[in-house]
Symmetry: C2
């Protein structure tokens, strides 16, 4: 609990000098620097975060956030935005302002424009749910080189210089879905899969991990067929109906992406809700309701609130507190929700 002031006194120098040595700013006489470092080590100096935070106000840090709009089809992002706003409000006290922009899934051009716009507006750090495209990756690298740290949210982007990723571990969440399927079917079932799109990396990873997990432990669980709904409830309704009609042996569904409500409507319309066991992802209001009604057996949630909030915290620590992210990847918890612990 030693302070800079105390160290200064011990070394017989001013606090400014100690500050320079300990934080590598400016130039200090080599001898005094060595002496100060020695003393700091001896008294186990560690900076007081609160004091630092208070002083950081003058920096007037400005952060940018590019998030998918929930109007693009998935109310999951509403909860993420709630997290963003809560954290932004909290950081306001530290003199931090947050500019949020909404982009569309798969619209690369729009996203690039928003990035430019935010940089023009003077943001010193950026959080973004990136479209998985080389052009986006490249712009992230540009920003990084220009000294603007970037944190990816919800989906990561390969070959980019982002300082951290916050979001689900899709591999593990897919495996967990497989584990759940094993438990609720007692290791024997004919499973239909409804996913968003084979082309969306995170959906693909989830599905393949799900399959792998079952293949390993459950020889009697068969994957009958797989359908794509493009994260749209109406498409989801129709492809699920087709899927179930084509394969009357299906007695379990794995809903790997959005469009959960549409798929469940199809099951209900066909009168199969008693027979078909359903596992889904996320816990949006309609999903919650379907769990309460017993249509969905279990869902896997992934801390949307935290996904929204944590990137801002990471950027604030990076820019304001000189704290580098402890890890390159911050995986959210994989939360199994059933009717009783919703």
């Amino acid at each position: 609990m030693a302070t800079i002031k105390q160290i200064a006194a011990l070394a017989g120098v001013s606090r400014g000098t100690v500050d320079r040595v300990l934080n590598n700013r400016g130039i200090v006489n080599a001898e005094t620097a060595a002496k100060i470092k020695e003393i700091a080590a001896a008294v186990q100096y560690s900076p007081n975060k609160i004091a630092k935070t208070l002083a950081v106000k003058k920096k007037n840090i400005k952060l940018g956030y590019i998030m998918y709009a929930s109007t693009s089809g998935n109310p999951f992002f509403d909860d993420v935005v709630t997290g963003i706003n809560a954290k932004a409000e909290e950081l306001a006290e530290y003199g931090v302002s947050v500019e949020t922009r909404y982009s569309e899934i798969n619209n690369v051009q729009k996203q690039l424009e928003l990035m430019d716009e935010l940089v023009q507006a003077g943001v010193q750090g950026l959080a973004i749910t990136p479209v998985n495209d080389a052009a986006v990756a490249e712009k992230i690298n540009e920003l990084s080189s220009a000294g603007v740290p970037v944190v990816t949210v919800n989906s990561d982007i390969d070959n980019s210089a982002r300082i951290a990723y916050v979001g689900s571990n899709y591999e593990q969440s897919g495996k967990t879905a497989g584990g759940l399927m094993r438990l609720i079917t007692n290791g024997s079932a004919n499973v239909g899969i409804v996913t968003g799109s084979r082309d969306v990396l995170c959906h693909a990873v989830r599905v393949s991990a799900f399959k792998k997990s079952l293949a390993k432990h459950c020889p009697n669980v068969k994957i009958v067929d797989i359908a794509e709904n493009n994260d749209d409830d109406f498409q989801s309704f129709s492809v699920t109906k087709t899927l179930l009609a084509a394969h009357p042996e299906i007695d379990a569904l794995f809903l790997a992406a959005a469009g959960v409500y549409g798929a469940c409507r199809a099951v209900i319309e066909l009168g199969l809700q008693k027979k078909v066991k359903i596992i889904s992802f996320d816990c949006v209001p309609s999903t919650r309701k379907l769990i309460q009604e017993g249509v969905i057996t279990a869902t896997i949630a992934q801390q949307p609130f935290k996904q929204g909030a944590l990137p801002l915290e990471i950027l604030f620590n990076y820019l304001g507190m000189d704290i580098k992210p402890a890890s390159e990847k911050y995986y959210t918890d994989i939360e199994i929700k059933i009717r009783e612990n919703l």
Copy 2:
């Protein structure tokens, strides 16, 4: 984002006066007080928490913590203690010190002595896992009256003036265990229950909620028998063996308290690990291992780390920041853990 300084300027008074009005300390002329309040409301004054935190150092807050020792049989408390220590270290920066004492389950006398000891040592607030006894409740009330706020942890105590409880919602976690049992048995099973003691309130609540939850939804799940292990692994081993021998029809076990390892050893010794599905509580190292090995199907964890840490935060906020607990009960999350999301 208005500050006291700005309000003082607007009102033409000193910051001291504004502080007095806004924090109800000392006496201020009624007119100026009204004026200041009006201005504060107009500019939407809200105190800066960081600045407050920095200034709180001089108070030299001292907190006490009475926790069950994990040597009393349950390694669950190790994780709680980890949470206590982490939070204590964090709070050290705020000038807060924490005195921790370890008590024994069911030892009322010892616990009363420790409470006295900590008060003698000058703690200004206390967190405690109380033995459920009238004498303990009464001493909690004494402390409260004397201005020492108390937070209960892990188990609550009736008719006491504690400012908050942090811990599991035993009713809901019991229900969740019931829900899980329903899912993994497909609603049909002969269940044996191994609990700690019928006399320990939280065990009793869990078990009764478990039963109720099953009775409501699963007519084909029968509770065959119930055994008590007094949270001891050796007793657990022996009573579980007896239980299984007496009821060969048992094909599922609900382990409602500690002694999980002992019960599982019994299952293994009888060669029943393939047949008997097991649901347990908490996620201590031995339980984790048994899940990985497929002996335990699922366990319900309850954020032991948070149970340790949060009470200190509540007390700090109460004493240092004048922030009353937002709620009287802080229930921990009910986390379902299976092999894949351990």
